[in-house]
Amino acid sequence: MAMNPMEQFKIEPIVPLHIGGYDVSFTNQSLVMVAIVAVATLFLSFSVSSRRLVPTRLQSMAELSYEFVQGMIQSAAGNDGMRFFPFVFTLFFFVLFSNFFGLIPGVFTVTSQIAVTFALAALVVLTVIVTGFLKHGIGFLKLFVPHAPLPLLFLLVPIEVISFFTRPISLSVRLFANMLAGHTMLKVFAGFVIALGGAGGILTGLAIAPMLLIVAISALELLVAFLQAYVFAVLTCIYLNEALHLHGH
């Protein structure tokens, strides 16, 4: 049972709860999410509490992450994209902490659930749509009309509309699949270590090979965890930029 690499993705209720026929139990996933929010909030509020001109290490970390997200927004969405700074910063930190928390052995990986990543991606796209209509009114629909002769538009407008609605899908699937694949791979190789170790004879010595591989994959997963959070946030900025400035393609 412990050898099943998919076991780690199982959601188990901690406090069973049913409201109006819906299962809204507090699960192991909810617990990790609460922990993520608590740790991120504590880290950021504690690290900037001293407000020194020459920052301590902790304050420096908070300042660097601020500047990192700021640079990301300004390069992708320009200066008026900064009004979405709280949104993008929160999103980036939530995904980043989820990915990092998931790397701690035994901790549930929140972003390995399509329900979570799709909810985040849907939030992004809804924000884009609302912003677009608030800023440009009905003119926001020009986003779907490329510069082309009229007969071609009958073909191109549906393509643009489909392309727009692929965004929440590709955004969420990329994050979810990366985390799912990485963690499954880790568990599969860990299974090899146990199986080889218990085999006896020369095979026991061979168990060191998948063990070394796990170390290497863990390092790679650390990179992937950061990169995927970064990609998620950058794409959010790029989509927001389109809603703000309506670039013709």
Partner: protein, 115 residues
Amino acid sequence: MSHQTPEPEDLRRLQTRLDEVRRREAAKNPQSAPTPMGVAFRFGTEMIAGIAVGGALGWGIDWLAGTRPVFLIVMFVLGAAAGVLNVMRAAKEMTEQAAKAAKGAPSVPDSEDEE
């Protein structure tokens, strides 16, 4: 504060030195470029998502209008086109980002402080 307050001039010099070190470090390991698997994953999801959304939209229209399978077929093809469009845009985006990362500007203006 117990120790003396650093002059703005000192801070600026420190920043210039930091920038130099950062640039040297950045030149040493040209990271920031996505891994080949990341690129493949990106393109793969964009393409699949296009086809899936196109197909789903077509199926939905057919279900509403009772015209199965006309729109399913049409939208599936358009969805594939949208997938290709997505991949092309993603590729363009990546090229632009790689070009931007290659430059790398200093975070503080050298001597005059104009902002």
